[in-house]
């Protein structure tokens, strides 16, 4: 065992915030997988969620709001021997960074994206996130948001992700289980975690989810695309399936980069320039 631990600073999240549970879930999952902070690459987004940068150790980027997925893809390109994990909020990853999410799905990049889905922008004090239910009232939408919520689950399923799951910050055991599966999965894995923001979101509370979220049971077949799409659309009726919603076996991006064998950062320098130079004679 290594002498470095995942525990960083004591979190500064509001008491009761779902982020506390998610952090414990991540830490526990990584520990159970036999990892330590020297053996993971983490890309934190900017938000309350991303503030985990100081509370969870690892070789990490704490980059720009909305860009954590793009950076993670680069990390994986250089070091495909290490697990790469994205940790961020629904504002950053589905809003500002929605384009990177969409196109990373298509690539089936072997990264695990953990989204704190609290339906608000926590860190900027409570404006709507793109996941907010239609009509949700916030500082930036005093009479309620006009847009429908984004549906990241159906998007992930239909645009190329190969592991799509939903957790709930109130269910620690599930969170641990999903993150372990996601990190172990080869290819793009999404763990969308329903996360009560106790300070700014007075609608989507623990109570709200306890009433409306339910676990997918043993009989559910995550390899069935049609079923998965159906499940993912239940959110329109305020029903939230928990567990692995969709799964597919497919080579991850880095395995399809034909010239990539050893990790890019570890191979020898290429020195046979001669043939390239000759092209220009």
């Amino acid at each position: 065992m290594s002498n470095v631990q995942f525990d960083g600073y004591t979190p500064t999240w509001c008491p009761g915030c779902g982020d506390w549970g998610i952090r414990v879930g991540i830490k526990t999952a990584l520990n159970q997988l036999g990892l330590d902070p020297s053996k993971v690459l983490i890309s934190f987004d900017i938000g309350c969620s991303g503030n985990m940068n100081d509370f969870l150790n690892g070789y990490a980027m704490h980059g720009l709001h909305g860009r954590a997925i793009a950076s993670a893809i680069g990390m994986k390109v250089a070091r495909h021997d290490l697990p790469v994990i994205v940790i961020g909020g629904d504002g950053g990853l589905y809003g500002e960074g929605g384009n990177h999410f969409l196109h990373a799905l298509r690539g089936n990049h072997d990264i695990t994206v953990i989204v704190h889905d609290n339906m608000v922008y926590g860190l900027t004090t409570g404006q709507v996130a793109p996941t907010a239910s239609k009509g949700y009232k916030s500082k930036s939408t005093p009479k309620g948001i006009i847009e429908e919520p984004v549906n990241p689950i159906v998007m992930a399923i239909t645009q190329g992700a190969t592991f799509v799951s939903q957790g709930f910050a109130g269910d620690a055991r599930l969170t641990v289980d999903l993150i372990k599966q996601a990190v172990t999965h080869k290819g793009f894995s999404l763990v969308n975690i329903l996360q009560p923001c106790v300070t700014f979101n007075k609608i989507n509370t623990y109570q709200y989810y306890l009433q409306r979220a339910y676990k997918l049971d043993e009989s559910y077949d995550p390899y069935n695309l049609t079923l998965a799409v159906e499940k993912s659309l239940e959110v329109q009726d305020e029903k939230f399936p928990l567990g692995v919603i969709y799964k597919k076996e497919k080579n991850p991006y880095h395995e399809q980069i034909v010239q990539l064998k050893e990790p890019l950062a570890k191979r020898d320098r290429f020195t046979k320039f001669e043939s390239l130079i000759s092209e220009f004679e």
Binding site: Y9, L64, R67, S71, R79, N99
Partner: protein, 578 residues
Amino acid sequence: MRFNFLIGGEAGFGIMTSGLVFSKIATRSGYFIFDYAEYPSLIRGGHNAYEVAVSDTPISATIQNIDLLVCLNKETFDKHKHRLNKNSFLIYDPDQFQVDIEVIKIEIPFTQIKNQEKIQQQMLNSVALAASVSFLGGDSKIYDGLVREQFNNKGEDVVSFNLKLADIGREYVEKSGVSKLSVLNLKENPEKKLVMTGNEVFSLATVPADCRHYASYPMTPASSVLGTLASWQYQNGMVVRHPEDEISVINSALGSSFAGVRSAVGTSGGGFALMVEALSYAGIAEIPIVVFLSMRPGPATGMPTWTEQGDLLFAVNSGHGEFPKIILAPGDALEMAQLTLEAFDIADIYQTPVIILSDKLLSESHYTLFKKEIERLFEEYKPKRGKIVQNPSFSPYLRYKIEPDGISEMLLPGHEGEYYQANSYEHLEDSHTTEDDQERKKQVEKRNKKHLTYLESNFKKPKIYGDHNSEIVFVSWGSMKGTLLEAMSCLNTDHQIDSYMVHFTHLYPLDEDLIQSIFSDLKGKRLILIENNSHGQFGQLLRQLTGVDFKEKLLKYDGRPIFYHEIVEYVLAGNKGK
């Protein structure tokens, strides 16, 4: 000897390829070339013009006067006839237009040949090109060799058909009765040369520079780097990606750089604008990154296929907040090779963004290089990664340790027993977020210190060309170099005027004392700032950082490069005025 060849025709019909073949024939015959192409931002339609300046001494400029104009359509003649004189030669199809000026004509009935031989429009290029080469005294073996290289993968039939077309062209030259020139006469044992655009040189140099990840979203005039590197990646192992947008491009490149590999991105002004937030991140998190920025006339979409040096001040000041960045602008192909290698070193040494400024002129024009020189340069080059290490030299490891030179040790991720963040927030030495006033101050000063260290250790002062005693002093930067050298040589040869050039490649930051001392030596002379933009941006930068100011400026901003004769005329007019 200077000879200027121009071939023109409708866009989309292979003019560009023919021009390049002409350039290679010239270099393989022992000459130097510089070429320049004009084409619209359209796939078809519009006009393409490809001109090649041939010389027996090095040249990196276009020539105003056209010695041989090859017209594949009437538009070529209309657009360029003002550049002909009575000693110029013209290859054209008398069925297409009347020649209303005095010029030496070589008639080739292109339309007729096309119909007779039942060939496609682009094949006429072979006719025209072979005729030109033959007329200029070129060796037919060299021509035929290039045809073979060009069409080899299409089969022997295609090769021999094109050789046949070449013969048709040559016959019309014989028929014309115009006596052949010796412009392309084969020299003995010509030294091996390379014909390369700035973009190709940049691409090539990233390989010895050990760049392992290149990400780019296509944008003229930087796009061809993406294509070139993509085609090489299976051979040299680089990972070459075309992500969904420029924001993803740079953030993914920062990801791979953080994780340990030299990484670069390429774009033009509009794409660069989307990257500046991430540059700022690279600045505070101290992540090395090389940005290849090839300029075109802006603002916004502007004139995609034309040239301008209009993004300098934007590049210098790009990104919010204060952080060190370094800007290099090669003057020609050789400097592109040298500065590309240097850029990757400097990015690593200072753990900060380095921007290589090119423009359409430099990016897409072909220059002549000595093959040996490039080989030697690449072989002698060893990547210098500065304080980037596999193992920390002290413990506990501090990613942002305050050091007298401003540069902390950068441990590559994955080392057992350590961890840290590349933090976009202000941070402590150990990389945790901080809002403490003293810690903030220390980190700001540390980052600022990098510029001072760079000025002491890696900054290169402007290069000086010409006669130090001259009264005329040109001050310029980047791609203007070749034009100015040509203008200086013309002033000297044709007008007996000596001149002097201060040419900058290391644009930012600038060493104030050094620059001031250079310019204080030049007091009283006629200083002329030459830039391919309308704001005199480098002049502004010089004034900002060193106080040096210019009264005389020759600025051009119509999408075209400055031609050397414009400089000569400007100087002569000014001298008269005095």
